[in-house]
């Protein structure tokens, strides 16, 4: 199966590989896996006081599509609010990377990873994801 040029680019030059200190209060860590393919994905976000994602890191063991999906997501989330990051859909990732149907689950994994990272950050700051949206809405009024 041929990978798209975009997948190959992310695979050969992955963006934002690495890690942040898990214990840091400003860091949210999402760890997800797909046992069927043996993939493990860790995605981390660094959030500033305004609730904006300033930076992101990932480390993925898996196929090219899984690596490319997580690499792409770390680029996408920078500059986004937590709520915006939560709206990233796997279909957008799959479309951008031109993933074939058999690799769609890799983009699902990346979507789950960013959600898990946001939820981890929110938990550290004393709120579940659902509460956050309500709180953010209330604060904006």
């Amino acid at each position: 199966m041929a990978y798209s040029e975009k997948v190959i680019d992310h695979y050969e030059n992955p963006r934002n590989v690495g890690s942040f200190d898990k214990g840091d209060e400003s860091v949210g860590t999402g760890m997800v896996g797909a046992p069927a393919c043996g993939d493990v994905m860790r995605l981390q976000i660094r959030v500033n006081e305004q609730g904006i994602i300033e930076d992101a890191r990932f480390k993925t063991y898996g196929c090219g599509s899984a690596i490319a999906s997580s690499s792409l997501v770390t680029e996408w989330v920078k500059g986004k609010t937590l709520d915006e990051a939560m709206t990233i859909k796997n279909s957008q990732i799959a479309e951008e990377l031109e993933l074939p149907p058999v690799k769609i689950h890799c983009s699902v994994l990346a979507e789950d990873a960013i959600k898990a990272a946001v939820q981890d950050y929110l938990q550290k700051h004393g709120g579940a994801a659902e509460n956050h949206s309500v709180a953010a809405e209330a604060a904006s009024h």
């Binding site: 997800v32 896996g33 069927a36």
Partner: protein, 207 residues
Amino acid sequence: MAVLHCSQCGAEYAPCSVLCPACGALLPFDPSCSLFAVLGLGESYDLDGTDLRTRAVELQRRLHPDRFAQAPASLQRRSLEWSTRINEAAAVLGDPLRRADYLFARRYGRSALSEAQGSIRDPELLMRQMELREQLEAISEARDQAALDALRRQIAEDEQRLQQQVAQNLAVVEGGNEALAGALQEWQYLRKLRAELDRSEESWDFA
């Protein structure tokens, strides 16, 4: 349960029989039969691998397409349906991990290992797998054969431990599906890791 009779000789036969016990005629295909039932086995994790293969080979011999070359199309189709199912049974039940996942699916209505199962978040399991992958990466870079062999032994030990855990869990009626799913998933991860380890070692020989 309804009593089944062979349309050829009228003899009674048990559900999921492939061939009539009296006259050997090929019986109607029943897609609802479990992989255990098509081989005439009870549904249990414990099984004799040699017996399993013997049963499958014997049935496949009786279902060989050459034997049905002159048979009506309906009978040819029937033999193909049974044959496909028996192949599947031999492949799934002959593999201790796939057999366990098949029993898990029979018990809880879903596989613990299929892609459709979606992503998992068990932090302990995932952290451990990431550490193992990092370890393998470092070993590969250093081309440290002794460390690679040690890791391979450790994976084998872990797989054995998981198999025992899975067998114990499946032996009781209510084992708890979360613990079982976790063990199956970890086992699957270790298999992938072992394959990765073998690939890595092979690449040393050619680099």
